[in-house]
Amino acid sequence: MECVFGLVGKDFALVVADTSAVHSILVHKSNEDKIMLLDSHKLMGASGEAGDRVQFTEYIQKNVALYQFRNGIPLTTAAAANFTRGELATALRKNPYSVNILLAGYDKETGPSLYYIDYIASVHKVDKGAFGYGSYFSLAMMDRHYRSNMSVEEAVDLADKCIVEIRSRLVVAPPNFVIKIVDKDGAREYGWRETIKDTQVPAA
């Protein structure tokens, strides 16, 4: 029931993910951040098996950092997407990762981009993408309302529309979502959309 979706706007890209960590019928937590900052200008929203998701995205994050240390310049979004695909493809017939990824990034030369990377390592550059059961609602919503070169307000509005659809139509809809944005100023958290707040446990 994990929902990840993303879209490209005018000089920015947006990725939205739900924040529930679920095992079978139990919700462990409702504020699990599934969108990782790969570097200053890249976001990786991931959905799939919990262990694979964390392990694989951290592995990609550390390798992206290593490239920058070794070569002095950061990877482009396309290069990071192809590197991710390569790792998934190599592991596919040995020890496959069950992680679906939406990689969003901003490059000075080419602007914003979004890559859809399947768990079986199919990669495609897209303007809008989504994974999970939520994709049936969010993709349809984006097909209807998306235009190229949307402003941040319009894009977040569209993301909110998708979240409303998921909440109202998905049987086990996740309660909380996080929105992250990447543009020329970098990758950062934009906001949360919460309906359930985790209670704070007092420190012992």
Binding site: L92, D118, I120, H124, V126, S135, L139
Partner: protein
């Protein structure tokens, strides 16, 4: 569901008078869901050899990357481009290497050989070459494509007529297949030029 039908595809290549045409559909889907409608299935290896890869998208991307690598090495060593017959043998050998754990893709190879004689062939996922003098097909829409091509094909067509014939054969076949379609991508190659055209068909 068969692994070859996971992504859905349609590919056809036809021989004309001193020219060939190779065409594909543009859908990138995951079973019943369409992810993108601008997926590239036909790749240029060099000016006179094109390969289309149908079947599982991740394996098509992997096989394409491996073939480009092998061809670039060949170009460095031999200081010339590969002939289409040689390239077909390379693809066949590459696929048979994985005989007991195959790549789930079916290539369609088209090229201009010695004296610009058109060459087309297809093979199954383990590299069994199928040479033909008229047309070859692959993908989920292959059965429809066989029928359409058999009905519409004439030998020794000029490039313009060949383009019309291959386009009509492709569009009418993918309209009967739910897993392929969303437009067409046609390359018509003569000894002097390569024409690339996008077809607009039924977008469903």
């Amino acid at each position: 569901m068969s692994i070859f039908e996971y992504n859905g595809s349609a590919l056809v290549a036809m021989v004309g008078k001193n020219c060939f045409a190779i065409a594909s559909d543009r859908r990138f889907g995951v079973q019943l869901q369409t992810i993108a409608t601008d997926f590239q299935r036909i790749y240029k290896i060099h000016d006179k050899v094109f390969i289309g890869l149908s079947g599982l998208a991740t394996d098509a991307q992997t096989v394409y990357q491996r073939l480009v690598f092998r061809h670039k090495l060949y170009q460095l060593r031999e200081e010339r481009d590969m002939k289409p017959e040689t390239f077909a043998s390379l693809v066949s050998a590459l696929l048979y290497e994985k005989r007991f754990g195959p790549y789930f893709c079916q290539p369609v190879i088209a090229g201009l050989g010695d004296e610009d004689k058109p060459f087309i062939c297809t093979m199954d996922s383990i590299g069994a070459k199928e040479l033909a003098k008229d047309f070859v097909v692959a993908g989920t829409a292959s059965e429809s494509l066989y029928g359409a091509c058999e009905a519409m094909f004439k030998p020794d067509m000029e490039p313009e007529e060949l383009f019309e014939t291959i386009s009509q054969a492709l569009l009418s076949s993918v309209d009967r297949d739910c897993l392929s379609g969303w437009g067409g991508h046609v390359y018509v190659v003569t000894p002097t030029e390569v024409t690339e055209r996008i077809l607009k068909g039924r977008m469903d």
